[in-house]
């Protein structure tokens, strides 16, 4: 067996191919669902994917616990996590870009402000359309709707996420002091806040659909609103699950004051989700 001194290179990787097959089934199944087919293939793909992840991460945890990872391996993991988060930032960047573009360019153009054909666009095609954010387009797609205010649930959710950023930091300090039970307690709090956030978000969606007539089909406002908050909510869910797993590992005393990469990765991810929310809160809800 390799010792922690040399760079650990696993000699066989059986899970990746399972991962590829499961993703293939998932995507193929999802595409068929969208085309009106059944859910079975997609469900099999998703289940297989979860299984693959459990086993793969299981292997990694086992290797980590048996001390096969040198510090250099740890650095590789850290870098990868950071760059992965960077890629996620860019993914959200695309949707924020869409939001800014719709607000700064398309909206005003449709209502006649801007160079070139803007005036004619409004006069000939969409006369009567006045730009004001939020809007559901000159054709008023989706009909009358009400705007999601920032004051109620979203504000509470902001507080929840900010608080969870604090609790996860306390947990981090706890593990740096090798205090496992404190870490687990604060992680539990963080997860709790995370799931509470998701629950409230789901409730907000229910409100939007049931009472505000605010839907994905509510023009560009509904599109950007649900796309941004939806993907964010998905990331919160993933982040909370990851934190939960880290917490469970904490109860098994998997970490030490010097060796707790999995914890840090989860925490970074959580902070990232947090920051994205702040962006959302400002640009989707308040402004």
């Amino acid at each position: 067996m390799s010792s922690a001194n040399s760079y650990y290179i696993p000699h066989e990787a059986k899970w990746p191919i399972v991962g590829s097959i499961s993703l293939f089934l998932f995507f193929m199944g999802f595409a068929s669902v969208l085309n009106g087919g059944g859910w079975v293939i997609m469900a099999i793909g998703a289940a297989l994917l979860v299984y693959m992840m459990v086993r793969w991460f299981g292997d990694v945890i086992k290797e980590s616990e048996s001390g096969m990872y040198s510090e250099q391996v740890d650095v590789s993991f850290r870098m990868s996590m950071m760059w992965f988060i960077f890629s996620e930032v860019m993914f959200f960047g695309a949707f924020f870009g869409a939001l800014f573009y719709a607000r700064v360019f398309s909206g005003p153009w449709l209502s006649g402000f801007g160079e070139g054909g803007a005036a004619a666009t409004n006069a000939v095609l969409w006369s009567g359309f006045d730009y004001m954010w939020p809007h559901n387009g000159p054709a008023e797609l989706g009909g009358d709707y009400q705007v999601m205010g920032w004051f109620g649930l979203p504000l509470i959710n902001t507080a929840i996420l900010l608080l969870s950023g604090v609790t996860v930091t306390i947990a981090h300090h706890a593990i740096k002091d090798n205090d496992h039970s404190k870490m687990v307690r604060w992680l539990l709090a963080t997860c709790g806040l995370g799931f509470l956030f998701v629950f409230l978000q789901a409730f907000e969606y229910y409100e939007a659909y049931a009472h505000l007539n605010l839907k994905m089909t509510t023009g560009i406002y509904g599109s950007t609103f649900f796309m941004l908050t939806g993907f964010h909510g998905f990331h919160v869910t993933m982040g909370a699950i990851i934190l939960l797993i880290v917490m469970l590992r904490g109860t098994k005393k998997h970490f030490s004051s010097t060796n707790h990469f999995a914890f840090e990765a989860a925490a970074w991810y959580w902070h990232f989700v947090d920051v994205v929310w702040l962006g959302l809160f400002i640009f989707v809800y308040i402004l």
Binding site: G116, A120, V124
Partner: protein, 386 residues
Amino acid sequence: MSIGSRWLVALAVLVSSQQALADINMPVGVTPISKEVYGLHMMIFWICCAIGAAVFGVMFYSMFKHRKSKGAKAADFHESTTVEIIWTAVPLFILIAMAIPAAKTLIAMEDTSDAEVTIKVTGYQWKWHYEYLDSGISFFSSLHPEHNAARQVGSGADVSQFENYLKEVDRELVLPVGKKVRFLHTSADVIHSWWVPALAVKKDAIPGFINENWALIEEPGVYRGKCTELCGRDHGFMPVVVRALPEDEYLAWVEENAPAPAITEADTAASQQVAAADEDADREWAMDELMAKGEGVYNTYCSSCHQANGEGLAGAFPAIAGSAIANGPHDAHISTVYVGVAGTAMASFAAQLSDVDMAAVLTYQRNAFGNTVGDTIQPSAIKALR
């Protein structure tokens, strides 16, 4: 002539005549802008040639002189801040020299003010609709029917026999010479792009938005162009033909084609055909009349998607033969064609077809390709919708 021998002839022509250059270079065009653009194009072309000659010259020189087989011994220099600065700065100056005239031309191109004639150009899959906003003339312009027949897969036509193959339309856009014409570009379905090389005018037609553009044609003549944004199956088959007339001839043409004032007011979009067919729309039409007319309409307007045999293209365009809609209740069938199907290539034909034409093509669909509904859809039913 076979392709091979035509090619030989072309090569011979190429070396011997100026004329052939027209086939391998940008046309100079007939507007002030197109001439400026041509000048710009030639300037950057020659600059690029000069850069290429210099760069490749040095490279080939060293490849011939500094060959091992010629006994060259490798030197060891590998750094010089001075030359790095020089070959950063010199290209920068060349670029600035190119950017200044380019910026000037660009500013001129974007200035659509003070136009005397305004034309709205709307792209459809796969034809153009022209609307003279000042005089109310409006019409569709699609690939000439003979060319359209010849270009079908397996038509067996010898396309080299056609003059201006794929560059001929059923109805040309007529423009005046010597007047600034402003174009408003938009689209009814997907993005198209309206291009006439001789006018140096190319602008995308974006559904839901209007783009502006302009041209001042200096010489009478016929100028041909194409749609240049991929717009689906028949993107290659929506030509643009502009006929530029001297001002008096142009005015005469407008006079002749302008719709009667009353109708202009009532309805701009479909005024022409609708007006002509208005009285026809009220009477009762017989089945064979509708079928005969409907076949023509079908082949002009529908066959590019649903195919001449009504079988469609599986997955992309549904078959009319056996279609539940074409064999079903009138309302759904009419609405499919009158309103279109949102989010698909099936556009609304309300503006393109007169009441009679639409009734005819609907009737035709119900009773052709093996469909045997046996009833007619009367023009009056369409008229009632307007």
